[in-house]
Each structure stands twice: as C-alpha cells, then as structure tokens.
Chain length 339, copies 2
C-alpha cells in the first residue's frame, strides 16, 4: 500500500473539516487511489501537532475545539508554526487552508512557494494568492513539476473548476456568470422573502454565524471578486488580477429596490460576470424562475460554451465539510494521477 | 505526434455531430492530449466510408446529407456495414452512436463486445446495452483492459456521469433525482405556459422535430427509465436492469391537472428517482422556483451526497453537437490517461 503524507496548514473551520473528512473517507480514498493518507502535521495560526508516524484526525479536532491550540495535542504538540513545519517532517502534499488575505496573500503565498520548491503537491482553499498572483503561482507549480489544485477556492461544495476542466473539456468557454458568495445571497434572499431592511438582516445573519463580525469581504463583493478573477484565469485563460475586477457590493441595496424588482417578477442578486470583455461583480436584476433564482447560501454558475450551449451548476457555497469535500476531491485526483 | 484512429458507428444526428465536433476540435484535442484524431471509418445503417489514411469529417457529413448514404463518399465509399467494419481497418477507439434498442440492445451490444475483444476503447451515446446489461458490458471492458465511457447516454450535454465520478469523487452518493428527458419536459412546459392539451402540444412538438413521429419512447417514460437505470448502476453501484424501474409516462397528464397544480404554485414534471430503495420514473409535483423548475428541453439532476450536501446540474438534454460534446469529452479523458 502506497502512503500519502499530508500537512494540514490552517486549522479553522476548513482545516478541521479536512481532518473530519479524511477520518470519514480513508477507506474510500484507499479504494479509489490505492493510497493510504496519513496526517503528519496540522497547524493553527500559532502552534501545531507534528508526528512522522501520523496523527489522529479526531483527536486533532477535539484538541483544537477543547484546548484552543494544537500545541495541546498529547505528546506531539509543538510550538512550531508556519513555514518551519514544512521543514520539520517528511510529507507529500500540503493541504493549505489558511485564511484568505487579499493584501499580500500571506501566509498562503510563501507556504505554497516553499512547498513547490520542496517538490510537493498543494491543494488549497485559499483565494488570496490566486486572486493577486494567479499566473506566478500556477507557473511556479508547473516549473516545479508538481500538482496544484484549488477547486475549494471557488464555490465551496459547488464544483466549478474541475467541472469545467474535466467534464466540459471538449468545449471552449465563452463566459461564466454566477452567484459566488453565499452570505450575500442569504441576505438578499431574506430581504426578498421578508421585506426587511439590509441592516436588520445583516445583524441576524451575523448572529447566525452566516455573516462575519466584520462582513466587509462578503457584503462589499470582495470575496466574489476574488472568485471571479480565479475563474477568469483558470477557465478562460484571462491574465487578470484582483484589481481588474469592477466591484460593487450589496450594502446600498434597499428593501424598496427589492420590492420594486419583485413587482415585475425580478430578483436582485450579486452576480459575478466572467468574460474576455468584462470582469465584474455587481447587484443585478435576474428573472424569477431563471437559473439565477437560487436562495439561501446556495451558489450557482452558468457556463456558456461553444458545443454544449449553457450548462449550470448549483451547490452550497460554504460549510466546513462541504469545502473539505472539494479539497478531498482534489487530493483524490492527484493520487489517481500517480498510478 | 501520437495518432488516435476512430470509427464512428451510426451516422444519424449524433454521429454527424461527432464528425462536426471532431472537425472543430482537432487542435484543442491535440493541445490537451497530444493525440491527433483521425476518422478511419464512418458507418450508417447500411453502408460506410473507410480509409486507413483518414476521412474528411466535413465531406462525410455532406455526403450523408446530400446523398443519403455514406457509400457515396468519393473513392472510399463502401457497402460494408456493422461489425465487418471493425475488421476492415485498424483503429484505436470505437465511437458508437447507433440508435438505442431496448429490446435486445443490438447492434450496439455486439459491436461493443467485438471492439472490447479487439482490445479497443469504446465511447458510446447508446442506452440500450447499458439499460439491459450494464454489469456485463462494464465487466467485459474491465476484463479486456480497455476504457468504456458513456457520458452521452444520459443527459445530452448535461454532464452527470463524469460529473459525479470526477468532481464529486470524495463523496458517497445517496440519491439522484432529476429530469432526464428533454422531450417530455418541453411538452409539459408548454402545456403549463399555454394551458393547452397534451395531444395538441405533442403534435406541435412533432412538427418542430422535438418529439419523434413515434413518440412512445419519450412520452411513456422509457427513455428516462433507461437513463435512470444507467445512473443507478454507474453512480450508486446498484445492480439493476431496465425492468427494475417503475415507469409511468406523461400521456395521461391533462391540462386540468397542470392548472390545479399551478394554482398552488406547483408544476408537474417527469421525475427520475434513483436511490437504493427506489428506481422510478413518474410525473411528480415539484415546487415552482425549486431546482426542478427548468423548462423547455432542459435536463437537470440533483445529486444528494454525504459531504457536499446537494449539488445540481442543468443542461440541454439533447441536440446533435451537444451530445457529441459529451462524447468528445470522454475521448479526451481516454487520451489523457494514455499519457
């Protein structure tokens, strides 16, 4: 039995989801790829647990939940963090789930380059380095001859990157339009169904944990713009960066505007548009009953192709296990290619 | 440059679509796989064109359209047909697009087994052999050590088989529910939007070429039942055959029933249900605005998974180039695996 040693870097909701999902899916991964996956290190923002013999995924999650720090992991807790962990233990694949940083993409950028230099494959859920420096990161992986996969960076459990690359591989992609941020879709959906004001629904969403305490990244369209530029680069071959996207968020949408649209059978949605002529995130009117009419935290994307006309996907845009499932699919794909 | 020699068997709408799509996509296939695809034979129901040096895809389509028979192809026309073509010329992959036969699955069944025995890969759009003898056909391919791919058999250009196998590979699949027949969806959509009777819309659909002269396969749910059992076998690992599916078509749906549903915000759709407990095709009430609310000839499917919750796809259920695009995607996937 071949072994695949992974490091989980970042141990928030997504990193913990990866640990949980790996625990559930060891047998399935073995069956599909012939590889036994072993977690040899996991790191939160200030500490870690490291063992060449492999760590217990459940105990990692319990330690983080109960003690707040991975350094509290029995016997193998460590104060090492960040890049030094990549030198501390032998590994095959870096599962990179640190928070997105849209200013300088750190620590994801340095960690990813370091893993490439070490000849290791990388699976990421991070948007920062992809939105700011897509070409640099992808070329570095190519030069290093390693695999770099990032399905989880867009759409949570809604497959879009592998979906287009693998299942629409015969088609040229003309454009992609979609709803790529679950939080704003939830807020707009509830404003529509309840006729409430933006501020009220935002507050409730924060209480429910759907919107963050600082909701700027979501409500101002920054998160959706990152995803927009990732799709532009990866699926349409457009050499663009975050600043090339025209961005307008939803914080100025009033309940009156939504009601007015509603009267004529329209909804207001935060739409991402990806085409060679236009990279844009903005509130748009969409017809009720159209493929854009998805509510709650759902994401959707409609891919316009030459041969297959329009194909759409819909799925949950967030969630810890959901996002982890996308990262596991990437890992399975990497391992299959090793056979 | 490696070469991949293909035979296109069956030269109706789908076979011609494959020839057209191959003509358009030679460069793309070369780029993605490193293989140059050459059509060494194409066959309609009674004749063929055969040349080891390769045939001109455009001329194949023009010959069929203008002369009605591939034997009229300049210089390389032939009276050979069916299985004897597989002996007449060296090839690497059989692109099998003969009409679906739900009685004995011929000629697809014999052609496919013969190709396997010759050690050749097969891409099919056919439903007959898969619906009647899924396990036999798939095991024969495995034993022969060849690739057998059949995305185009379900959903036209809506990816569902590769979609689940490739982009949801980390998930266990609990169930799949969907609209898998475009003709009936078109008829029901128009009955709903116009309040017209079944017979009137069926007649118009026949005039438009959306329904066949003998519409039985579509309107009685037979086509959808074939697709249901293919999904059951290929994606849920259920060892079932066509006769295991409970089938009810749409020919008894009245405009009154549709209106009654409409008043309570429901639509009537022909729904395929695939789960370990239930293989069924039947008219069902679905909520307006739900993911089942797709109109015209669209197909859709909602896949219920353990990790990624529910993921849906929507795409055109038919069309010549659209179905061909699914076959080309399968061919590209086969060729990529040869590298």
């Amino acid at each position: 039995m071949d072994e695949c040693k992974v490091i989980i870097m970042g141990f928030g909701a997504v990193g913990q989801g990866v640990a949980d999902a790996l625990f559930m899916k060891k047998e399935l991964i073995k069956e599909k790829t012939g590889f036994e996956v072993k977690v040899v290190a996991a790191a939160d923002s200030s500490s870690s647990a490291i063992s060449a013999e492999g760590l217990d995924e459940k105990l990692l999650v319990d330690t983080k939940k109960n003690e707040g720090k991975l350094s509290a992991y029995p016997e193998f807790g460590s104060d090492k963090n960040g890049a030094e962990i990549l030198d501390a233990v032998e590994y095959d694949c870096l599962i990179e789930a640190t928070p997105t940083n849209i200013v300088d993409a750190e620590p994801a950028l340095s960690l990813t380059f370091k893993a490439f230099e070490q000849g290791k494959d990388v699976v990421t859920s991070n948007k920062g380095h992809l939105a700011l420096k897509f070409k640099d990161v992808v070329s570095a992986a190519e030069k290093a001859g390693v695999e770099f996969k990032y399905e989880a960076s867009v759409g949570g459990s809604m497959p879009i990157i592998n979906f287009v690359k693998d299942t629409l591989s015969s088609c040229d992609i003309k454009s992609i339009n979609g709803i790529l941020n679950g939080t704003t879709n939830y807020i707009l959906s509830r404003m529509t169904s309840e006729g409430s004001d933006y501020e009220d629904i935002l507050k409730e969403s924060q209480e429910l944990g759907i919107a963050e305490t600082d909701p700027t990244q979501d409500v101002e369209g920054i998160d959706a713009a990152c995803k927009t530029v990732i799709l532009a680069n990866s699926l349409l071959g457009i050499d663009a960066t975050y600043s090339d996207v025209k961005v307008e968020g939803i914080s100025k949408i009033t309940s009156e505007a939504i009601e007015l649209a509603n009267k004529d059978d329209y909804l207001i949605k935060l739409i991402s548009e990806v085409s060679p002529d236009n990279l844009q995130v903005s509130p748009r009117l969409v017809k009720k009953g159209s493929s854009y009419d998805v509510s709650g935290t759902l994401n959707m994307a409609t891919v316009k192709t030459d041969l297959a006309d329009e194909v759409s996907v819909i799925g949950l845009g967030a969630g810890s296990l959901e996002t982890a499932s996308a990262m596991l699919t990437d890992l399975i794909s990497i391992l299959k290619n090793k056979n």
